[in-house]
């Protein structure tokens, strides 16, 4: 069942669950952050409408800088503005920022320790018809590896709004990953959000609270733990629900902050499950799966199955078509859970 403490969307498992693009939440969050704090400025590389910076631009034209199609400049100009005390939000498509301007982000933002907030829209394969050039599926890896950098991958538009508002208050350089397509709204305004804190969104059964001490360390309490990020969290929940109906015990953890990773939540889930499946719309190399594997290899090694793109580029197609083709659908998650269970000793 859904975790009642998180006050998730009660219609989440209905057929007609509301769908909103994650990037829209960013636009709303930026607008609110700018109302709260005059230091917030916005810079865009000729994609003001599709990255949802338009509302901000119209209300605060004096705090908006149009950079043109020049993502290296986008990052470096923002660094300079941050040096003067501003809190710059920069937007483009993730493929170009942080794709094209990686070194500028590393040196002038992270190495310089400037609080620039990088919003990469149209991340993931679900960009669809635009094809492989525009589908950023390496961006988490690119940003995660840079010291000082915080990496956030919200699961829906409401979480994106909260993440945007939260990052406007922090001093760290931050990457916020956004997606183009409409995706299910899983959270509500009441759902808590804290940077760096994972959220158990689904558990097969509400355990009659059995104190941890009574469970032997060699036994797992549940069959599998699924760790998901971004919009695919929805498919993870759906797969978990099906597995639950078939008698499996599955817990789903939403990791919206990939760095710093909530190691406590990840290790706790590994302790409970002794088998993990990671789910992300990103290369399995270097993304959430990589982060979880690094953490568990160091603290509590268990079998891990990875859902993500397997060392391939994307192509044109409908978002759902592509998600299925590249093995990130509900059925794939379901199958990965079965594989993970088989690998348990």
């Amino acid at each position: 069942m859904l975790n009642p403490h998180l006050k998730l969307n009660p219609k989440l498992l209905d057929k007609d669950v509301e769908q909103v693009p994650i990037r829209k939440g960013f636009g709303e969050g930026l607008f609110q952050a700018a109302e709260i704090d005059k230091k917030v400025v916005g810079l865009c590389a000729d994609l003001t409408e599709s990255t949802h910076m338009l509302m901000f631009k119209q209300k605060f034209p004096e705090r908006f800088i149009e950079i043109g199609v020049a993502e290296q400049n986008l990052a470096t100009v923002a660094s300079g503005m941050a040096a003067m005390g501003k809190i710059p939000f920069i937007t483009s498509y993730a493929m170009f920022s942080p794709g094209r301007n990686w070194e500028q982000i590393r040196t002038t933002i992270a190495y310089n320790d400037r609080p620039v907030k990088i919003a990469g829209s149209h991340a993931g394969i679900s960009v669809g018809p635009d094809g492989g050039t525009h589908q950023a599926i390496e961006d988490i890896a690119l940003m995660r590896v840079i010291p000082n950098m915080v990496v956030i991958s919200p699961c829906d538009s409401i979480q994106a709004k909260k993440a945007t508002l939260a990052t406007a208050k922090t001093k760290e350089p931050t990457y916020i990953r956004l997606a183009r397509e409409k995706t299910p709204v899983m959270t509500t305004d009441q759902t808590p959000f804290e940077i760096g804190k994972g959220q158990v969104v689904f558990e097969s059964v509400k355990e009659a609270s059995s104190p941890k001490s009574k469970v032997k360390n060699t036994q797992s309490q549940i069959d599998v733990g699924i760790i998901a990020t971004g919009a695919l969290l929805f498919k993870a929940i759906k797969a978990a629900q099906k597995l639950s109906e078939e008698g499996k015990k599955v817990t789903v953890l939403n990791i919206h902050t990939i760095k710093p990773l909530d190691e406590d939540a990840v290790v706790k889930l590994a302790h409970e499950s002794h088998a993990i499946v990671t789910v992300e719309e990103h290369q399995i190399i270097g993304g959430l799966g990589g982060a979880v594997a690094e953490c568990l290899a160091a603290h509590f090694p268990v079998p891990i199955e990875f859902i993500g793109v397997r060392n391939l580029f994307g192509q044109s197609g409908k978002p759902d078509e592509l998600i299925e083709h590249y093995g990130m659908g509900e059925k794939d998650i379901y199958a990965a859970v079965q594989r993970a269970i088989l690998r348990k000793k």
Binding site: A70, Q72, T76, V77, S79, M81, A83, T107, Y111
Partner: protein, 278 residues
């Protein structure tokens, strides 16, 4: 502030002190760049001892002018000038490039927070300075009292990021932004016009709507006129193309691209360099 004859003499003395310290620091470090630091010593002396609004005892003074070093590899001249201007002890220059030193091989703010920026990877300084000037304009309008300076190499202008920033500054008419190009005609692999021709360099900047001043980068009267002009122009940013002699001051090293990225190491080289600034 007028540049009196006495002031010119003082600046000449300071520039010599700065060059001497650069050489001693490089000899001690056994690695680093010689040509650019030596050829920019006059302009650094002019800035820190005449033109720049700054306070070595209060480096984070809000209303200071901002000086961004884009060509991070010439940091020995920045460090040496800052030391002589009272930011830190001159003796500290001997720690250049050593483990634990505040004086990193390329500047890093985390080690030396009084720096305006970290740099090394080329071509990013102009855009950062543009961002600073834009932010300042939001807060203080077009009559802000601050000046924003960026020092860049000429070979560095091969980098595309520069021209993105130059285009934006022209669009935004950032009148209190001045870029100083160290036109020493050399880069690592050879002479700039052989590696990747920059000429007609002034025309390139003019085409991006900048005010262009071309000067002898070792003549304090010329330097003073250029900075005065840059401050006076109100409808556009300015670039000072400072024609300099690579490794200026050590006759045996001058104009040679081989001195871009190495320090004096042999007994003879060390002797020649020390002799020059006795």
């Amino acid at each position: 502030m007028p540049l009196t004859d006495d002031k010119v003499k003082l600046l000449e003395t300071k520039a010599k002190d700065i060059r001497r310290s650069i050489i001693e620091a490089l000899i001690e470090a056994k690695s680093g760049h010689t040509a650019g630091p030596l050829d920019m010593a006059d302009i650094f002396a002019y800035l820190y001892f005449h033109a720049l609004k700054h306070d070595s005892k209060n480096p984070s003074w809000e209303y200071r002018d901002r000086l961004v070093l884009s060509s991070g590899h010439i940091c020995p001249v920045l460090y040496s000038t800052m030391a002589h201007a009272g930011y830190f002890p001159v003796e500290e220059l001997m720690t250049l490039r050593k483990f634990g030193s505040r004086l990193q091989g390329h500047p890093h703010r985390e080690f030396l927070p009084m720096l305006e920026n970290s740099s090394g990877p080329l071509g990013a300084g102009i855009s950062q300075t543009v961002g600073m000037a834009l932010a300042d304009r939001i807060d203080h309008g077009r009559t802000s009292s601050k000046q924003f300076y960026c020092i860049t190499g000429d070979g560095e202008l091969d980098e595309g990021n520069n021209w993105e920033g130059i285009m934006l500054a022209g669009k935004e008419k950032l009148q209190n932004l001045t870029v100083i190009v160290d036109r020493n005609n050399i880069q690592i692999d050879g002479f700039t016009e052989d590696i990747m021709p920059l000429n007609p360099l002034g025309d390139k900047w003019r085409a991006f709507n900048w005010h262009v001043v071309e000067i002898d980068g070792h003549n304090f009267r010329d330097i003073d006129r250029a900075f005065g002009e840059a401050r006076a122009v109100f409808d556009r940013p300015s670039v000072i193309i400072a024609n300099t002699i690579a490794s200026k001051g050590v006759p045996e090293f001058e104009r040679m691209f081989e001195w871009h990225g190495k320090p004096p190491t042999t007994e003879e080289e060390i002797k020649q360099a020390r002799e020059a600034f006795k």
